[in-house]
Subunit: 398 residues, 2 copies
Amino acid sequence: MTTINPFTKQILMTAGPTPVPPRVLAVMAEPVLYHRAPAGVALYASVLDRLRPIFRTQNDVLAFASSGSGAMDSAVANLVRPGTKVLACAAGKFGERWIELCEAYGAELVRYEPGWGTRLDAQEIARLLDAEPGIEVVFATLSETSTGIVHDVEAIAAVVRERGALLAIDAVSGLGAAQLEQDAWGVDVVVAGSQKALMIPPGLAFASVSQRALDAAAAKPGGRYYFDWVQTAKQQRKDPPNSPFTPPVTLLAALDVALGMIEEEGIENVWERHALLARATRAGAAALGLELYGDPDDRANVVTAIVLPDSIDGKQVPKILRDAYGITANGGQSQLAGKILRIAHCGYFGGFDILTSLSGLEMTLAQLGHPVEQGAGVGAAQRVFLEAGVPVATGSPA
Amino acid sequence: MTTINPFTKQILMTAGPTPVPPRVLAVMAEPVLYHRAPAGVALYASVLDRLRPIFRTQNDVLAFASSGSGAMDSAVANLVRPGTKVLACAAGKFGERWIELCEAYGAELVRYEPGWGTRLDAQEIARLLDAEPGIEVVFATLSETSTGIVHDVEAIAAVVRERGALLAIDAVSGLGAAQLEQDAWGVDVVVAGSQKALMIPPGLAFASVSQRALDAAAAKPGGRYYFDWVQTAKQQRKDPPNSPFTPPVTLLAALDVALGMIEEEGIENVWERHALLARATRAGAAALGLELYGDPDDRANVVTAIVLPDSIDGKQVPKILRDAYGITANGGQSQLAGKILRIAHCGYFGGFDILTSLSGLEMTLAQLGHPVEQGAGVGAAQRVFLEAGVPVATGSPA
């Protein structure tokens, strides 16, 4: 038996922070720009402009130095006062963050919690809105990172708009991975973060806010400052736009490069790439006889949650992947700890990343006493790529 | 007349973002760490531990992904509820930020505004506390970046502690540049940012919070989430510490390198270097016949605000420095626009940076029709360095 481990190269395969492309990393090593000098102002303006097509919106995309949860906080701080009646939808850990936020800000809270791994049902949301008059804001999730489910925001938006409430969507892991059409679908608020499909490190977050949502925030002044939408929009609407506070300039420089990469590939192609990677992952899991967690459909393009065999200690899977194979991957969170492995395909991911994740999983399962045919999952994923006509038919990130 | 400009190299000389050392920039180009993997957790723990000696505290130094204003917001969001009686001290733009924050959160606000450029008077703060019973929190500033004044926080802390109120200090630009002894002086809350004397880009901010302040926050729950101190302290106190939200991992990696540089130099030597750079800057200004703004004393070690001659268009000074000489420097803000030039010596600054700033200023004044003896300010600054025994007697950043 050898003591040499050929798998010591470290490979980041998590759903956030996600891998950052080399040319994005490189720009962060350049000298820092002063944000009020012309080059810094131009960078800020460029990023704000180039974000709109990613959100598919004409809105102001408000930028904050914060993690994605900061932008979620901004949505509640701007739209909720003690006693504001809201509906929070949660079918996983990040949906539950909306509940925690609404409670922290004293909302009169109606909860819709169909259970982790479930898809939110637009008709049930419609029923709750009809049964509970006076709901001003509905909070829901695009991609529920804890379960892999991507919710049908288009259908949810249709029933919420019809009933006049505002809709705020957590798209932190979804934006740029799963299709989202903010304006066409009529979503008032979309919240996102930098460290997922936008392919840069954490530290920048966004709230793309409709005029209707901005007006609602203006009608509830006070109780916030750093995350105030009204002030932020006022400053960003100046020509050139002005950042209310010192922005994280290295992350802005990184994002400008990353947005250029998304433009080169084309956002529809980016979505298609994610869809193809997800299909290959699902095929790989199936070939290994493994079930997917919950009830994913063909929207589940951000992260694939694979149920681990009952017969093994599931908490060992991410540990062995990391310690033996150099792969940092996500196990399950909270109630799913030890029960699932999440294979990410969110942002700067390509076909060989999926094959690597599946290879690592196959070897890890064997080590844990759940032998699978080595290469079977990988082969199934490869067949998906071949059937899709890769590399001819699809774009790929540079 | 030549058309060749030998001054096209771009030089960042602002008081925030400040120049970032090459070895700090380099680490940001390394692949991103997953914050929950052992290496990410170890990085987070290292940074939290190494910050304490910079704040001169045994407190929890709470870390937030935000700009410095976000950490200021956290202080008000955690200590102020509608009707909480507070005293806000403001003698410049950043002091006024405390006032705006207290108003946003509905405080019953007592203001102490002795005028821009003035040093806050601890005895007047004592008088106000005695005259206005029930003040729970006093907000003040260490280094007022807009004017260059560094306030006597030790004296302020003495009178505030004696009267039982909490004291929160904005040390965003001051920490690591001007002496601050949080525990010895009895300052409950010190707020700081990453992009000043900590020598990394913007996007990380800190609140070093005493147990007394944490208890006060716990007694005023709700109305906040992302910036909640109680939750953040609870997570950070775990072993190993846990980041409540995804932290800006590239900035943590940068900070770990920068803190190592500060440790190598020694925090007292860092303060001394700033003091020496400030003395040289003041000598340079005096040799050019220029006054300093306001009433700085030998604590004014972060940025030196030089009053520009009335006879010139002062707004042209930073513009010419930038366009003709490649130096990005700060003019005045708000009511001081066009009236002052601020020469920064905050963070990764050395003697030649000061000489460069003074050289640029001398040439710029000549171009604007206010001739000064070229080299006179530079020479005066050099004499300060020589008299101090440089390079023998002082440490210098690598």
